[in-house]
């Protein structure tokens, strides 16, 4: 209530002030600051602020109840037309403004699906009434242009539960300024950390952390970054005592210092060893590998391990599999052979450690047969210009351009012009043959056609290729526009290309991106540690986009080797990397891990015997296990991304699946072999712990496990099977810790 009263007073003051000023005359002031209430500068921001033009309401493509506005007011002509001209002019009624449908609906004097947006007589009501009464004028074209919207403060550190007011200032081309706080819309990126009221009063929540408040006024968006440090003092000197040799460490400590947080201890060798295997090559270490590493007393054994792991053959399958998630085509669209070709291309790229700029270039400019050059398959999978354009911008640039296909991007600068300019790079991609999916799929040739133009989705005019926020390239007629696109994408000056890959790889290794979602890089979605992201991207670029170098850089930092156990000074930290974040194995890794632990083989259709799940080239290969633990569904659009969250059916599957129980009790599996070996019960327990947890059991654990072993060695097979079952069903097995 207090908020709205304050709001009312603000509005009244503003109106009053305008009137008073108007009475005094405005000759010496810029024209737009006169009392004249005009559409673009006064009314459209209101429609945004009160949610009228939002996606669920009149902003959706077909409007609501016959009244459609452009989403978030990015098309003023359309909106003015809709309000003033459509519905036979009943929406605004200058002779008796109160009778206007616009006002009667917004105040719910007439039935309104959106309820009461504001009260009759309230400041926004009065503003609208004034505008209608004066003939619903547009903002004159020669009025000074809005150049910037500035929020003050743009960054602030505050205590838990502390409040402060945001002020929004509009700056115009004639040098004038205007306070537009009351006409601006505010939105918190994380309302648990900070909330913001309609009139810009920001309040921190009870917990420390960091977030951003998005401020919107007339197509301009800006953010205020809010930091809520952990209360209590830490000596600045303490931070200086942390090792800073590795650049990642120094940048993470800097951020923690800002938040008053302190890093966790370094993880134990066994934890680190298992984590490194799983993150670098997606498999568990063998008992012997664990024994050797734990016994090694060299200082640099962790760095050495990372170097060695990245040289192993499993690296390529594991990392190619991640990219296959992003690119794996729908077999019904491309045919099975093409699915295999693209998969083989990816695996080969990672086997050769193909530099990432070359990787992107070969995909984006791919030409030839879908049966010979796997990279071309992405064009068969996404045959429409607009589809491939959205997918390339999201994959390689972290820009979700797709929104801008139909309307201005709601949280970004991208307009429909940007979208179609970008998509036009693909306007000359030629397709020949291969038109009969799904059965054979057929062979398709992807080539650069001599002509081909893309029509703008709204205006229908032909669009010239234009990169994002960069001038159009000069293209000779014989030149493939895709070459120019690849050139611009991989140019050192491109701010997005290296960052989005660095962020993806960071997220894969650390369990959380610096930016989340990992492919949504924008000013309104700031990175949790921008200097760190800048460093990673710069270093990646400086090392010729060497993906293994990027992985090695991250994995040899101290930050990668921190324990997951929180302390009092970082317990609530979920994105500043003051500790390692636990994550469940992905489906393929878990299936391979179970098979490795038991030393059994999986049989997949369309795969040679002994293949691992990370080598699967199609999700058409049926596997109840992989389905249960979640693999992307290539039939879904967009393909479902991975999750590491657990579900009850997953737990049930581990406990009760007849298939798992069959493997557990095979004569050829490890439990049976151990039971019939001449090893002692204690040795068997140790071996089991090494296989499943990749560590030695503690004395206490060993004692408890030994208690289930019968006196007679002949009967011990059941005990060993039960022990394996028990450990496999615990979280310590399921998680990368």
């Amino acid at each position: 209530m207090r908020g709205s009263a304050a709001n009312t007073i603000w509005w009244l003051t503003l109106l009053l002030a305008s009137w008073l000023v108007a009475d005094e005359g405005w000759s010496s002031e810029p024209a737009h600051q006169t009392v004249a209430v005009t559409f673009e500068s006064d009314i459209q921001p209101l429609l945004t602020k009160f949610g009228c033009n939002s996606g669920p309401c009149h902003g959706k493509a077909r409007g609501q109840n016959g009244f459609a506005l452009s989403l978030l007011g990015f098309d003023s002509d359309f909106d003015h037309e809709a309000i003033v001209r459509e519905a036979r002019g009943r929406r605004v009624f200058p002779a008796a403004p109160e009778e206007s449908l616009l006002l009667q609906k917004a105040t719910a004097q007439l039935p309104h699906g959106g309820g009461v947006r504001f009260e009759a007589g309230s400041p926004p009501y009065e503003l609208l009434r004034t505008w209608i009464a004066s003939g619903s004028p547009r903002t004159p074209e020669d009025a000074p242009q809005l150049l910037h919207v500035v929020v003050e403060p743009s960054q602030r550190s505050l205590a838990p539960r502390e409040k402060f007011s945001l002020h929004v200032r509009a700056e115009y081309s004639d040098g004038s300024e205007r306070d537009v706080t009351d006409a601006s819309a505010f939105q918190s990126n994380d309302s648990t950390l900070a909330t913001v009221s309609r009139d810009g009063l920001l309040q921190a929540g009870p917990v420390p952390g960091e977030t951003a408040i998005m401020v919107r006024y007339m197509n301009h968006i800006t953010v205020c970054k809010v930091t809520i440090p952990l209360p209590g003092e830490l000596d600045a000197g303490d931070y200086a005592s942390l090792p800073r040799k590795h650049p990642i460490d120094a940048l993470v400590w800097d951020k923690l210092k800002l938040l008053g947080m302190w890093p966790s201890e370094v993880a134990s060798d066994a934890t680190f060893h298992r984590r490194a295997y799983l993150r670098a090559i997606g498999r568990l270490p063998t008992p012997d590998e664990t024994r050797v590493f734990l016994a090694d007393d060299r200082e640099d054994k962790r760095e050495t391990l990372i170097h060695d792991l990245l040289a192993r053959p499993e690296y390529a399958d594991f990392w190619a599999n991640k990219w296959a998630d992003l690119l794996r085509p729908n077999p019904y669209r491309v045919g099975m052979k093409a699915v295999w070709m693209l998969d083989a291309w990816l695996r080969d790229a990672f086997r050769r450690n193909m530099p990432y700029d070359q990787f992107a270039r070969e995909l984006v400019t791919a030409r030839g047969s879908t049966w010979h050059n796997g990279a071309t398959v992405i064009f068969r999978d996404r045959p429409q210009t607009v589809e491939i354009a959205s997918s390339v911008s999201q994959l390689f640039l972290g820009v979700r351009l797709e929104c801008a296909k139909c309307h201005h991007h709601p949280f970004e600068v991208w307009s429909q012009d940007d979208f179609y300019g970008f998509a036009a790079f693909f306007s000359r991609v030629g397709h020949r043959g291969g038109l009969s999916p799904p059965i054979s799929g057929g062979e398709e040739l992807i080539y650069t056609s001599r002509s081909g133009q893309l029509a703008h989705g709204r205006t229908g005019e032909s669009v010239a290729p234009k990169p994002l926020a960069a001038p159009s390239p000069d293209l000779a007629p014989e030149e493939d526009p895709r070459e120019a696109l690849a050139e611009w994408m991989t140019d050192d000056a491109n701010p997005y290309f290296a960052q989005v890959m660095a962020n993806r790889v960071w997220a894969e290794i650390m369990g959380q991106g610096l930016v989340e979602p990992v492919d949504d890089l924008r000013a309104t979605n700031p990175a949790s540690n921008q200097p760190l992201l800048d460093f990673l991207a710069e270093d990646f670029r400086a090392h010729d986009y060497d993906i293994k170098h990027l992985i090695r850089t991250i994995m040899t930092s101290r930050v990668f080797g921190l324990s997951s156990t929180p302390s009092e000074r970082n317990i609530a930290d979920l994105n500043n990397f003051s500790r390692y974040y636990r994550q469940r194995f992905r489906a393929e890794v878990l299936l391979d891990a179970i098979n490795d632990v038991l030393d059994v083989e999986e049989e997949f259709s369309a795969m040679p015997p002994g293949s691992r799940a990370t080598q699967l080239w199609t999700h058409r290969a049926s596997s109840l296990f992989l389905d249960t633990f979640g693999r992307p569904d290539p039939n879904q659009d967009p393909p479902c991304e991975r999750t590491s969250d657990s579900t009850t059916p997953q737990i049930l599957h581990l406990m009760n699946s007849p298939e798992l129980n069959r493997k557990l009790s095979l004569d050829s599996a490890v439990p049976a072999r151990l039971a019939s070996s001449c090893r002692s019960a204690a040795e068997i327990v140790e071996e089991t712990y090494l296989r499943v947890y990749c560590r030695f059991p503690t004395d206490d654990e060993a004692e408890r496990a030994l208690a289930i072993f019968p006196g007679e060695e002949a009967d011990r097979r059941q005990a060993v099977e039960d022990l394996f079952w028990a450990l496999i069903n615990t979280p310590e097995f399921l998680f990368i810790d």
Partner: protein
């Protein structure tokens, strides 16, 4: 490669919020539970059994015969009168004809998606595909009815809320609602003596206490450190919660009874028919009794481009007797009031009988301009026919409805508001059903 932002339920960001919110009281797992049971109060006792006839069953050979049409349209079968005067069915729908005071036939749902991929999607989700897709496609652009019901309703005793027997339908997935709302698929054949519902029952050979011994051992050896402070957002707590749910399901007598189809008296099992389809329908009834709100029976082989007449004498008769047995059984048990039974496919069939170049015998081809749908229970009036097609069955002409209206009706009957806005993974608002008006005639 993005592991965290996902389609599978709770996002990491949500976990974060939940974790932080927990400082204010409540907790991560509590919040999960709260979510799982959200919406449970609305018509919590209603359920749906969907017979999905993949391929698209003919309306001529089922509930919309055209005896006055020329023979190339009329086909081989004669019409039969039904319990409701003036309503005729095709001759193979004999048992249902004697029972149509218990259900409604809709003859006027139509759409423009004339291939399997797109038709499946439209009828199963109430949303047309966003881009054109082909016949062979298995696509998902929008959550299916079953997944929506799973998300909005949940189920007791840790039971999965959405079952699909014996496989998932083409567009029966959860899309952005996430894997936890994917159907629980029971592939095994309940007509077999050794039938068990996978994973929810203790594997054979372990029932004699060995399973309990394993669980005891697991608990004793589970020394993994949990970060109990909810603010830490430890995902292991979620696994513990799932584990408890799994255990409660395994040991819930009510839930386990649902899976034990062999407890059913022989006469009931016989009534449903001793074959996969019949026993799946019976299993569906048992699941509904145990509180599962949505069960799909995915029955393939309805794409009768050829052999349409012999198939309807066998396959058609088998289906109708199963549906009749289910409706009768539900009615006898008083469950029909709370159980919606739907029988439909992605579209109807062409009026003109054709023999395609690569076929030897006549059939009918895809025809989305008309189809017949059987709706029973959950307040659906009996003895009713909604809408009509023209004299020759070419198009729905009276009280024409779209798939949106059908799907909205299903949601309303299950206590879910079809006029709901869902947010997909990119935060884009999406209507649960874009036209939330139900088919008034079946709303009772």
């Amino acid at each position: 490669m993005a592991i965290h932002r996902n389609c599978q339920g709770i996002k990491r960001r949500d976990c974060l919020k939940l974790g932080l919110g927990a400082l204010l009281g409540g907790g991560f797992v509590d919040a999960l539970r709260l979510r799982a049971t959200a919406g449970n109060n609305a018509r919590a006792n209603t359920s749906c059994i969907l017979f999905w006839l993949d391929g698209g069953p003919s309306h001529f050979e089922t509930f919309d015969p055209k005896p006055d049409a020329p023979s190339e349209i009329r086909g081989e079968f004669s019409p039969i009168s039904t319990k409701v005067p003036g309503v005729i069915f095709s001759e193979n729908m004999e048992r249902l004809a004697a029972l149509n005071d218990k259900f409604t036939v809709i003859r006027s749902v139509r759409h423009d998606q004339n291939n399997h991929g797109a038709g499946n999607h439209y009828m199963m989700t109430g949303a047309p595909t966003r881009i054109p897709v082909s016949c062979g496609a298995f696509v998902s652009f929008h959550p299916s009815m079953g997944s929506v019901v799973s998300a909005q309703r949940g189920a007791p005793d840790g039971l999965p809320p959405y079952f699909s027997l014996p496989s998932m339908t083409r567009s029966g997935g959860p899309n952005f609602l996430g894997a936890r709302h994917a159907p629980f698929v029971v592939g095994d054949n309940p007509n077999k003596d050794d039938f068990r519902v996978r994973d929810v029952t203790i594997p054979s050979g372990l029932e004699d206490g060995r399973f309990l011994e394993r669980r005891r051992l697991r608990q004793e050896l589970d020394t993994f450190h949990r970060f109990q402070d909810r603010a830490a957002g430890d995902p292991v707590l979620g696994v513990d919660e799932n584990f408890q749910q799994a255990v409660s399901l395994i040991h819930s007598p009510a839930a386990q009874r649902a899976f034990q189809i062999d407890r059913e008296p022989d006469q009931i099992r016989d009534a449903y028919g001793r074959h996969g389809l019949g026993q799946r329908a019976l299993l569906a009834r048992r699941l509904v009794e145990a509180g599962v709100p949505f069960v799909t029976i995915n029955d393939g082989g309805w794409d009768h481009h050829s052999e349409i007449f012999p198939k309807f004498r066998t396959q058609g008769r088998e289906l109708e007797s199963v549906v009749a047995a289910l409706i009768e059984d539900l009615d006898t048990r008083g469950l029909l009031e709370t159980t919606l039974v739907l029988v439909m496919g992605e579209f109807g069939r062409t009026p003109k009988i054709s023999t395609l170049a690569d076929r030897k015998t006549p059939g009918r081809d895809h025809w989305s301009n008309a189809m017949s749908i059987l709706v029973a229970g959950c307040g659906t009036p009996g003895g009713q026919v909604v809408g009509a097609t023209d004299r020759r069955g070419y198009s729905a002409v009276e009280n024409v409805y779209a798939p949106e209206n059908l799907v909205s009706s299903v949601y309303l009957k299950l206590g879910i508001d079809p006029d709901t806005i869902l947010y997909n993974n990119s935060g884009r608002p999406t209507h649960l059903v874009s036209d939330p008006h139900p088919i008034a005639e079946i709303m009772g």
